[in-house]
């Protein structure tokens, strides 16, 4: 960037909001402000880590600035020392030091001993710090002697060469005296004096946020915080002129910032990260090994390797070799082999599915050559960053085994999970700000209650939401609340753990980035999120848990046990019954196509081939919906709109999606065909499409594309359309390969639902919670498909649900609420030794406590031993049973079978079923109250007979509420009754009128207009009321995805 004058000041002590509850802006804000103020470099020194450093580094890089790397270390005596990394060795020392302290401390804390700091001092530069530093923090109590004592401690470690006396001026009256002492100290020890502004926020308004965070840190509010708050708003980035004026009497302190900045040679581009190499035999190498394994795999996959296949494999292998990625592919292949050996289902997803190498190595399951997938989407000549291979694994224990295997292989300092930055969002921001502004708890709770399952920014403005919470716009503090909300929204709040991203390293990862304990035992987490890691070239392997993978794997195992084995690789891809199920939108429980939006599209889409399903998976996505591509595609598919192309040259690219670009691969190909984009240009386009954070990058590529199109002689109108089509993918692009991977699972699950329904539902039930629907809804859905369910029973049920026979499923004992797993597993063990002869035998030999026995009896799990639930309840309360004293009272059994209690009624059984298991194997609860409902209240199946536009009333259990971001505030409710599921559309006005009723009532009565179109039936809600009946159990819905 062009500068008007030579650099005159560099801020070397700045904090961002990654100094949690201290700093008050994003690192990116600091970089932008520094650029605006023509400050050529700054050092980000967040508390106890480098959380914000990658963002500062990249923003600075984009703006032509330099971001030095530093941190504020909290020592064991609570003094805070700002440390700057002078060299790579220094940075690594800091990482190790932070890791040591973080791994031994509770989350959010890290206390370092002075001796440990001394051991890791090489390559580091220390500043004496601000009021929390070792010098000034002692000043109020110990005066000059305190300052000297703190100084000696630092000087002993860093000597004169690596220690700077830091001086800050914030226009506060009391700061002059200690500052004078600091100047004297620097002079007498001949140490450089360094001016900093101890920046906590980029611009003056950030002081407000800083005050709010101070209150939160001290658990107080603004009215009571007093002098804990900032005295003024001076701790912002200042121009060189401002700083020079402030330190007019100490010009050397300003000059020193320039000298020190020059001295700091380390930046994050010198991270020195290396991905592990794959071990090979002596005389062998990774490239050769990869080639051998790929060709071995190709022979298994294709049997005969055609010239076309060979050409593609050689092309891919050549590129992989040139880019130095062979080790990476071998390591991922090794993880996949581990999964296969351990019988853990694994499937690569994402752009890896575009690679024939990945297909041959068994990493992905779809053939990119026959699918004509674009390899450049995965890897191209110009690529510098590592390719992205995500592995889908069955969620739960099986995925954890794979994660632990990686820890085992690379050590706990060689591998860690990536972080997930939790940010302030609507409710959390208002709660914190409201507390600090001293708003009544009732108002804050009411605000939260308005959005019980997340934020809904779509239809309710903040002012209205506040008004509904009892905070009127003319409240004296409402403007401050609103302003703070805008400032705080999106700032980092704390660090979580990413669900599956793991980073591994050749050597020690703890010298690349500090590691911390994750909340899950046995896991550690790095201080950066996946985007930060990717931008710094740290390779991550995403080990994502999919409930559906676990369910499918369980279903396959069950099918095999039932002597009807199934190989998903060999199931017919054009099974008419499976496609009939999809066309009828009978897809509850089916992967990816069970949402309301998917179910509404399926009858229009009428999928009959696998690629239709790929499109179906991809089309109900924000990208195609926002880009208004979904509707034209469906219209063309239905023959209602002619199939046209932006340009005839795009026919081969777009013909399988009827002229509409739906996938990222198509967008890349369009750029290659129309603009003659090279591999590296395509790579930049890919990054711009998939990297959500950079608008700058997207705009840069857009300009490049426009220029290339013009150079290629494309007419302006077509140019515009091509650019528009590509731009619509900027935020939500969906790769074709990803859609294919998902479609394979979707097809497999649909196929299982049709042909292996017992196994399918059993698999789903054993892996709850997952998907869109609760176990109760899955049971009702299965029953509509003719399956019968047996309640969990201690005589013959297992821990998991099982299949006792044709069209029958026996619920597992796992489903019982408030019964310990260990008690159940012990019971199963002793049952295997000898079956229970009576309820007394059962109670004598098991370890259930009285409360667990009550649950078992209530749920009917003891019926096989006691006759009915009430008899069981009567028996388990017997003192002989409770005292396990049955031998002394042999006649108890005879006496106790004569229960004076009445058997449970049907209604009681349903209520108890829901209370003890959350599902009922009996009739739907709505059947109980059907007779008490007015006759005009329709059932779900009755809607087919209703004419379009007729006014109807319907009642049922809310099984799903959805408010897709793309639906402009429209809410979709699925209402289940004894006959099926009715689909309700609630428009924003109605939603706001009845918001809490909709989000909190388990059963609803809805009045509205029937809308029938292309095989789908919806009710447009006109009136919504809670349905209150004592017979109805508390429901469980799965809401707001």
């Amino acid at each position: 960037m062009a500068r008007k004058s030579p650099p005159a000041y560099i801020e070397l002590h700045a904090s961002s909001a990654f100094s949690f509850l201290r700093g008050a802006c994003k690192p990116e804000d600091l970089a932008r402000q520094a650029a605006k103020l023509e400050i050529p470099a700054f050092a980000l020194c967040d508390r106890d880590g480098f959380y914000g450093s990658p963002r500062a580094h990249h923003s600075a890089q984009e703006l032509g600035l330099k971001a030095h790397v530093g941190t504020e270390l909290v020592l064991s005596d609570q003094s805070v020392v700002p440390i700057l990394a002078e060299t790579q060795e220094g940075y690594r020392n800091l990482c190790k030091l932070l890791t040591i302290s973080k791994l031994r401390s509770p989350k959010g804390e890290a206390h370092i001993d002075w001796e440990e700091l001394a051991e890791h001092k090489k390559g580091l530069i220390a500043l004496t710090g601000d009021l929390e530093g070792p010098l000034l923090r002692k000043w109020p109590h110990a005066g000059t002697q305190g300052i000297e004592a703190g100084f000696k401690q630092l000087h002993r470690i860093f000597g004169s060469q690596h220690l700077y006396v830091e001086i800050q001026r914030h226009r506060i009256r009391d700061e002059d005296i200690p500052n004078k002492l600091l100047v004297e100290l620097a002079t007498s020890f001949d140490l450089p004096l360094l001016a900093t502004n101890g920046v906590r926020y980029a611009t003056p308004p950030g002081r407000r946020v800083c005050d709010v965070f101070t209150c939160l840190r001290h658990h107080t509010h603004l009215d009571a915080a007093g002098r804990l708050l900032q005295a003024n708003h001076e701790r912002h980035l200042k121009t060189a002129a401002e700083m020079r004026a402030l330190f007019a009497d100490l010009p050397k302190a300003i000059e020193e910032t320039l000298h020190l900045s020059e001295r700091l040679e380390f930046s994050l581009k010198d991270l020195g990260y290396a991905f592990p190499t794959y071990p090979t035999e002596p005389g062998d190498n990774m490239d050769a090994l990869l080639r051998r394994e790929v060709y071995a795999g190709a022979r298994r996959r294709y049997q005969t390797i055609s010239p076309k296949i060979r050409k593609q494999l050689d092309y891919e292998l050549g590129l992989i070799q040139r880019l130095g990625f062979s080790g990476y592919f071998l390591i991922v292949w090794d993880i996949v082999r581990f999964c296969e050996n351990e019988h853990i289902m694994v499937q690569g997803r994402g752009s890896a599915a575009n690679s024939a190498v990945c297909y041959c190595l068994g990493i992905t399951a779809c053939d990119p050559i026959s699918g004509k997938l674009l390899f450049e989407r995965f890897l191209s000549e110009g690529r510098k960053a590592w390719p992205d291979i995500d592995l889908d694994l069955p969620s739960g224990d099986r995925r954890e085994r794979v994660i632990q295997e990686i820890y085992r292989r690379y050590g706990h300092t060689g591998a860690a999970m990536t972080a997930n930055v939790i940010k302030y969002r609507g409710r959390s921001a208002i709660r914190e700000i409201g507390k600090v502004l001293n708003f009544p708890e009732e108002a804050i709770s009411r605000f939260s209650a308005l959005s019980p399952r997340g934020d809904y920014p779509h239809t309710l403005e903040l002012e209205n939401q506040l008004e509904q919470s009892g905070i009127r716009a003319d409240h004296p503090r409402a403007p401050a609340l609103k302003k703070l909300y805008e400032q705080i929204y999106g700032l980092p709040r704390h660090l979580g753990q990413h669900s599956g991203g793991m980073v591994i390293c050749q050597g020690r990862l703890d010298s690349i980035v500090p590691l911390e304990n994750a909340s899950m035992p046995g896991r550690s987490v790095v201080q950066w999120d996946k985007d930060d890691c990717e931008q710094l070239g740290i390779i991550k392997v995403d080990l994502l848990g999919l409930g559906m993978m676990a369910a499918i794997q369980d279903a396959i195992t069950l099918a095999s046990e039932r002597k009807r084995p199934i190989d998903l690789a060999k199931i017919p891809k054009d099974d008419p019954a499976t496609y009939d199920l999809m066309c009828a939108a009978d897809t509850i429980g089916v992967f990816q196509i069970e949402s309301r939006a998917q179910m509404a599209t399926l009858p229009r889409m009428k999928p009959r081939h696998f690629y239709d399903l790929v499109v179906e998976v991809a089309i109900i996505r924000p990208g195609p919906i926002v880009g208004q591509l979904a509707h034209p595609y469906l219209e063309r598919r239905a023959g209602k709109e002619p199939i046209t192309y932006i340009d005839q040259r795009l026919v081969p690219v777009l013909e399988r999606t009827l002229g509409i670009p739906l996938f990222q691969e198509q967008v890349l190909k369009m750029a290659m065909v129309m603009a003659n984009f090279s591999g590296s240009q395509a790579e930049r386009l890919r990054k711009a499409l998939s990297f959500h954070r950079s608008e700058v990058l997207m705009n840069r590529v857009k300009t490049e594309l426009e220029t290339a199109l013009a150079a290629n002689g494309i007419e302006p109108e077509i140019r515009e359309r091509v650019v528009a089509a590509i731009s619509s993918f900027a935020l939500y692009g969906f790769p074709e390969s990803h859609a294919i991977s998902f479609a394979m699972l979707a097809y497999s699950s649909a196929y299982l639902k049709v042909h292996y329904s017992e196994e399918f539902y059993t698999g789903l039930l054993n892996n709850q919670p997952m998907g869109f629907y609760s176990a109760a809804t899955l049971v009702q859905d299965a029953k509509r498909r003719g399956l019968r369910f047996e309640a969990p029973c201690v005589k013959n049920a297992s821990w998991l649900a099982t299949i006792p026979g044709e069209k029958r499923i026996r619920l597992g004992l796992k489903i019982l609420k408030n019964v310990g797993k260990s008690s159940i597993l012990h019971m199963l063990e002793i049952r295997d030794e000898q079956p229970f002869s009576s309820i007394f035998d059962f109670c004598r030999r098991t370890r259930f406590n009285p409360s667990e026995l009550r649950v078992l009896a209530s749920a009917g799990a003891l019926n096989a031993l006691a006759g009915d639930r009430r008899s069981a309840l009567w028996a388990v309360e017997s003192s002989s049973i409770q005292a396990n004293d049955l031998f002394n009272n042999p006649n108890t059994e005879l006496i106790e079978t004569n229960t004076p209690l009445q058997p449970m009624s049907w209604q009681e059984r349903v209520q108890t079923d829901f209370a003890t298991t959350g599902v009922t194997v009996g009739a739907h609860p709505m059947r109980q109250i059907r007779n008490s409902l007015p006759r005009h209240m329709r059932r779900a199946t009755d809607l087919e007979q209703c004419s379009n536009d007729s006014f109807v009333a319907i009642a049922g259990a809310v099984i799903c509420r959805q408010r897709p971001g793309t639906a402009r505030g429209v809410v979709f409710i699925s209402l289940e009754d004894e006959t099926g599921v009715a689909n309700i559309i609630v428009y924003p006005k109605m939603f706001e009128e009845r918001r809490l009723t909709i989000v909190s009532e388990p059963f609803l009565k809805i009045y509205g207009i029937v809308q029938k179109a292309e095989g789908t039936i919806h009710i447009k809600a006109r009136r919504i009321e809670p349905m209150l009946a004592p017979e109805l159990p508390a429901g469980a819905s799965h809401d707001f995805h």
């Binding site: 109020p140 005066g143 226009r171 506060i172 009256r173 005296i177 002081r207 407000r208 005050d211 603004l222 007093g226 002098r227 708050l229 005295a231 003024n232 708003h233 001076e234 502004l437 708890e441 009732e442 804050i444 709770s445 009411r446 939260s448 209650a449 019980p452 509904q468 004296p476 503090r477 401050a480 009550r854 009896a857 209530s858 009430r870 309840l873 009567w874 309360e877 017997s878 003192s879 002989s880 004076p900 209690l901 009445q902 449970m904 009681e908 108890t912 918001r995 809490l996 009723t997 989000v999 909190s1000 009532e1001 809670p1026 209150l1028």
Partner: protein, 486 residues
């Protein structure tokens, strides 16, 4: 005959007593308003909106967006319970507080009281306390309790115990939660159904607690009420037969109250820490005054003198119809001093002097200056003067002051300041003017940005040609001379 006084939704009603609008709109009680906690109690208006205990507060708001949510307040519950106990003790000395909000009285010996008339009296009294109540009369204490727990009518007289128990819900007998859970699972909803089960079977399953419940459910058990001696309240009140409009008779009654209360205090070995005098006035709101005593004492003469003084020069807007005097007691040991601590010589005289001064300069202009916890310069408040010497010692040692002392102008004087290159260069006041030869500053401070009282002040230390150093400030109101150094 036994009577039961029951306050349905006692905790909520206690809370609503503090809220003038509480009785009419829908209101619920939760344990803690900060969380989405469950509804513990709901008033009738809330129940009419289908808001019942056990719902989440979110669901409650869904059913009635205007519902008011209150958190439990133990202190108000205790105060309400004391009032109710007092009411019941005025009817029968043998009164049991079965639990908060339920009081059972043994009416044997006062049979001449007609149940209905008594019930009306109780209802009226509880209404005056701002509470809706139920009254039950029954031959046994348990039946009275069951009736109170199960009935929704305001007055219930149980004259056929057998028929009543048959349909009485099991919850009325307040079984322990575990037992109640089992009875629910068994489908046992009434005491009648419960007693159908043989007592041996119940006894075997639930031991003594089950057996006791069974016997209570049969209505046979005659238990003794657990009567607690009335704790002294140090409270005297009198509803006057004729309104008072002169001071003498009022002081006469107050003197009697003071004598009685001091006697009670002495018996309880306590001292008076403060007094609360309340005078009910005809056609006007009551007049109230709380007097914090300078030193805890138990001397009737002194206490009376203080009260007498507090009534001097007070013009009541209406005639007095009710007098109430309450004393807050305190343990003598709480006032004991450390060996080197001393009280001022005569706190009473000191207090008297202060009161006289306050009468002249105004109450807001007398006290001990205390620095406010704010960055705003020269922010002090006047705290009430303490009567013991150790309280006057500063709470925390202040850092040693640097530089010459500042003689402050209070209030700061408005001045004119000219600037040169953003720094003060010339100062002019009514008494002082001159060229500024040196400056130090600016010192910036601001605060209360979240409120309308937002303030911002910039200070400078300046030296005039006469070598005098001053502190000046600039705020939204202009330039001010804050003081002179030295």
């Amino acid at each position: 005959m036994f009577s039961a006084l029951h306050i349905p939704g006692f905790a909520l009603q206690s809370r609503l007593r503090l809220d003038p609008a509480g009785l009419t709109p829908a209101a619920i009680l939760v344990e803690d308003v900060t969380k989405n906690s469950l509804v513990l109690e709901a008033n009738t208006a809330a129940r009419n909106q289908k808001i019942i205990p056990g719902l989440s507060s979110t669901q409650a708001i869904a059913r009635d967006p205007s519902v008011r949510i209150f958190a439990r307040c133990l202190a108000t519950e205790i105060r309400t319970a004391q009032s109710l106990q007092h009411l019941c003790l005025s009817i029968s000395p043998t009164t049991e507080e079965t639990r908060r909000g339920l009081y059972i009285s043994d009416l044997r010996g006062v049979e001449k009281l007609q149940p209905k008339a008594l019930a009306r009296h109780i209802l009226k009294e509880t209404e005056s306390l701002g509470l809706a109540s139920q009254t039950v009369f029954a031959p046994t204490a348990d039946l009275a309790e069951f009736g109170a727990q199960s009935s929704t009518s305001r007055i219930l007289i149980i004259d056929n115990p057998q028929a009543f128990l048959e349909s009485c819900p099991t919850t009325a007998a307040s079984p322990n939660p575990e037992l109640l859970e089992v009875l629910n699972l068994w489908g046992i909803q009434t005491l009648g159904a419960f007693t159908q089960i043989p007592i041996e079977a119940i006894s075997e399953r639930f031991g003594e607690s089950g057996r006791e419940l069974w016997e209570r459910a049969m209505g046979r058990k005659r238990r003794l009420l657990l009567v607690q001696p009335e704790s002294p309240h140090f409270h005297e009140s009198l509803d006057l037969e004729y309104p008072l409009s002169t001071l003498e008779p009022l002081l006469f009654i107050i003197r009697r109250f003071v004598d009685d209360l001091c006697r009670q205090l002495q018996q309880a070995h306590l001292l008076a820490a403060s007094m609360h005098l309340s005078l009910g006035l005809e056609d006007h709101p009551k007049w109230e005054n709380t007097i914090q005593l300078p030193e805890a004492i138990c001397w009737a003469d002194t206490l009376f003198a203080v009260l007498e003084k507090s009534l001097e020069d007070i013009q009541m807007p209406g005639a007095i119809i009710r007098i109430s005097l309450k004393i807050d007691p305190i343990e003598p040991s709480a006032q004991q001093r450390q060996i080197f601590e001393t009280s001022i010589k005569n706190p009473w005289r000191f207090a008297d002097t202060i009161d006289r001064l306050a009468a002249i300069v105004g109450e807001d202009n007398i006290g001990t200056p205390t620095r406010l916890d704010t960055h705003r310069p020269d922010s002090i408040k006047l705290s009430p003067l303490k009567h013991t010497l150790e309280d006057w010692i500063l709470e925390e040692p202040q850092p040693e002051p640097y530089g010459p002392p500042l003689k402050r102008c209070r209030p700061p004087q408005s001045i004119h300041v000219s600037l040169y290159l953003d720094r003060p260069s010339y100062l002019k006041t009514r008494k002082l003017q001159g060229r500024i030869i040196d400056t130090r500053g600016p010192f910036e401070a601001s605060g209360d940005w979240w409120d309308a009282q937002f303030w911002k002040q910039t200070e400078w230390d300046i030296q005039l040609e006469n070598k005098q150093v001053y502190r000046i400030s600039q705020s939204a109101k202009g330039w001010f001379l804050e003081g002179r150094y030295g």
